[in-house]
């Protein structure tokens, strides 16, 4: 490191010290420990953070965040599989949190450095995929359901039947081009548990999807909401947040979690093994769980926040939006995807290859 750089770092630390003082010493515990360079590498989904969050974080802590984006969990996993390329904080979904814990790819969190844990809604303070929340804290949660164009459907499509087992919307249906998700939703429609690993049931879903294929326009590559918005399809299986984003542009679009229930997901904040700046990572996670910061993020990206303190700061249009927060009844019918082992992964992939090849 050159002399120049060193002097810049010290100046920045001084400024950040001032910033922390101004913020009421909120981040003092982190600062006292921080012998790390004031930088952090954040690996996140696209449009998944508030507009000013990273800037505000730098102002209050002096830590520069570099954010890289991934498109799906598989990309995140593939990138970290061969060793951490330098990320400090990542945002995997629950089943990948479980996968990464199993594979020893996550660093345990130090709860003492994250006092804002108390902001989290009690129902989210523990999780089946990470007992005791040793490795992950919730960032956002949501569902997978059906997005639809109100003026083109007979009634609200409140059953998976309309996308899986009916020609009513033939040629105007898009499913998700993601093997586990499409098969797991098929399980829910057939009345099986979401994580059913029974090969006979997987076969049954496969046959149903092959039967339905002529009615399906496309297995969409994470752009189902665009297909709905541009009028290419009328019903689409999608993440609720994606549909919510196009609902803002078009009043004619609605979202429903079908009666059979759907998938409940939770994106989590984790520190991957080998993170170069673990102290900063704790400071950053604590910041994201702050009431004001959490409210700003949730307000901007319109996903459901598990941050109870942040929800109190947000208006009723957000808190009572059924597409963001489904009814308790609906939530109870939904299930969380678990990591079901390598044999299951292979069964699912072969079934999907056959569906696409038939």
């Amino acid at each position: 490191m050159s002399k120049d750089n060193r002097s810049r770092f010290s100046r920045r630390s001084f400024l950040s010290g001032l910033g922390a003082a101004a913020a009421g010493l909120k981040f003092a515990p982190g600062l006292a420990l921080a012998a790390e360079p004031r930088e952090l590498n954040f690996y996140n989904w696209d449009t998944y953070i508030g507009e000013n969050t990273l800037g505000d974080f730098r102002k209050s802590t002096g830590i520069d965040v570099t954010m890289d984006l991934f498109a799906d969990n598989d990309e995140l996993f593939a990138k970290l599989k061969g060793g951490n390329p330098g990320y400090d904080v990542i945002v995997p979904t629950n089943d990948f949190v479980e996968r990464m814990i199993t594979a020893g790819m996550l660093e345990p969190l130090d709860a003492a450095k994250i006092p804002n844990i108390t902001n989290i809604d009690p129902t989210f303070r523990d999780a089946a995929f990470d007992p005791g929340r040793k490795y992950s804290l919730p960032y956002m949660w949501g569902t997978i359901g059906i997005g639809y164009r109100k003026s083109r459907v007979d009634s609200i499509p409140d059953s998976w039947k309309w996308v899986f087992d009916s020609d009513r919307y033939a040629g105007k249906i898009a499913l998700m081009g993601d093997a586990p998700t499409v098969i797991q939703m098929g399980m829910k429609y057939l009345g099986y548990p979401l994580n059913d690993t029974n090969p006979a049931h997987i076969k049954q879903v496969e046959e149903m999807l092959i039967r339905q294929k002529p009615n399906v326009l496309v297995f969409a590559e994470d752009n189902g909401q665009d297909l709905l918005l541009s009028g290419e399809v009328d019903v689409v299986m999608e993440w609720n947040g994606d549909i919510l984003q196009v609902m803002e542009e078009d009043d004619d679009i609605g979202y429903i979690v079908p009666l059979e229930g759907g998938l409940l997901w939770q994106d989590c904040l984790c520190i991957p093994t080998g993170a170069p700046h673990p102290e900063n990572a704790h400071i950053f996670i604590n910041y994201l769980l702050d009431a004001d910061a959490g409210a700003e993020i949730a307000d901007f990206i319109q996903y459901a926040t598990p941050n109870a303190a942040a929800r109190k700061l947000l208006p009723a249009v957000y808190n009572s939006n059924p597409a963001i927060f489904p009814s308790q009844e609906t939530i109870e019918r939904c299930e969380v995807a678990t990591y079901n082992g390598t044999e299951y992964t292979r069964l699912i992939d072969e079934a999907y290859t056959r569906i696409m090849a038939s």
């Binding site: 799906d72 598989d74 990309e75 996993f77 593939a78 599989k81 996968r99 199993t102 594979a103 790819m105 040629g171 081009g177 993601d178 093997a179 586990p180 294929k213 399906v216 326009l217 496309v218 297995f219 590559e221 541009s230 009028g231 290419e232 390598t342 992964t345 292979r346 699912i348 992939d349 072969e350 999907y352 290859t353 056959r354 696409m356 090849a357 038939s358």
Partner: protein
């Protein structure tokens, strides 16, 4: 020209960096993938190298062979369409006035300078139900109706009661159209290179000696352009065979190509050994195509030398 033996220092200075580059960033990673293709998954991230050909046997399953065949079919059609269109374009550029040629070549290469993903999304905007093509057709339909109205035929609805958009996206047509669009420059450039080198006096001689335009084209122009055709066909066919973005974004429910299966093995299926085996099968096929091409070229050379 000096032989490299006379100037070994110069030779090594120029040869070592690219050779090291190739070894480090091409041969070594490729070798790793080759080794992995003889491995077996033993957990989430661990791969055990067992040196058995299980993954290759699995790839021989009719399911995957059928997908290989389908990929060949798509890549083949793409190559033929590119050849037909590319020949016309390359001939037009060759016979264009010398001052316009660089501009025409530039127009062929221009799309190359834009990212593939952006070009594919642009194609979606052009082809979709409410896209540019359908908007243009709808305008034509309106004008047609107005014309019929002027002729007093408006009440018969000869063009249909309302405009029916053409479905151009999310089917196999879209995949081939996308592949042709992406790979056309690969075909035009070698064809142009071959045609530009051609001695025009052969064509004049052929025409003077009584051969018609078609005969001249088939017996003189095509054989002279043959090296360009072979190169063009190979460098169009090989990348088209390995495409995954185009079928992903433009294809419908039965547009899966082998590269889509390979991509999934490295991502959601998390089965690198099987993905590696599939990749290598694809690569062996490519090697075979290139070997055939060089054998053909060698035969061509000996024949010319004999003349």
């Amino acid at each position: 020209m000096d032989s490299w033996r006379k100037n070994p220092l110069v030779f090594w200075v120029f040869a070592i960096p690219p050779a090291a580059w190739l070894a480090l960033f091409f041969i070594v990673p490729l070798g790793l993938i080759w080794v992995i293709s003889f491995g077996e998954k033993s957990g989430l991230v661990d791969i055990q190298i067992t040196w058995v050909a299980d993954n290759y046997m699995r790839a021989m399953d009719p399911l995957y062979l059928q997908i290989f065949l389908k990929s060949f079919w798509y890549a083949g059609i793409t190559t033929i369409v590119c050849l037909l269109v590319g020949f016309v374009v390359a001939t037009a550029i060759t016979f264009a006035p010398a001052r316009q040629r660089p501009i025409l070549l530039l127009l062929v290469m221009l799309p190359f300078w834009t990212n593939l993903l952006i070009r594919t999304y642009a194609l979606i905007a052009v082809l979709r139900t409410k896209g540019s093509v359908n908007a243009g057709l709808e305008k034509l339909w309106e004008w047609g109706n107005q014309l019929l109205g002027l002729l007093g035929l408006g009440q018969f609805q000869l063009l249909g009661a309302q405009f029916e958009p053409v479905h151009l996206l999310y089917n196999n047509f879209a995949v081939v159209a996308g592949l042709v669009y992406v790979h056309l420059p690969f075909m035009v450039l070698p064809l142009y290179a071959a045609l530009a080198r051609m001695d025009r006096s052969y064509i004049e001689a052929s025409l003077d000696l009584g051969a018609g335009q078609l005969r001249t084209f088939a017996s003189v122009v095509v054989p002279l352009a043959a090296p360009g055709i072979v190169s063009g066909v190979i460098i169009t066919f090989v990348p088209a065979l390995g495409s995954f973005l185009t079928p992903d974004l433009l294809g419908g429910t039965d547009s899966q190509m082998i590269a889509n299966v390979i991509e999934r093995q490295f991502k959601s299926a998390n089965d690198w050994p099987f993905g590696a085996a599939l990749s290598f099968i694809l690569m062996y096929i490519t090697f075979f195509a290139i070997a055939v091409r060089s054998m053909w070229a060698a035969r061509q050379d000996t024949r010319e030398n004999m003349v």
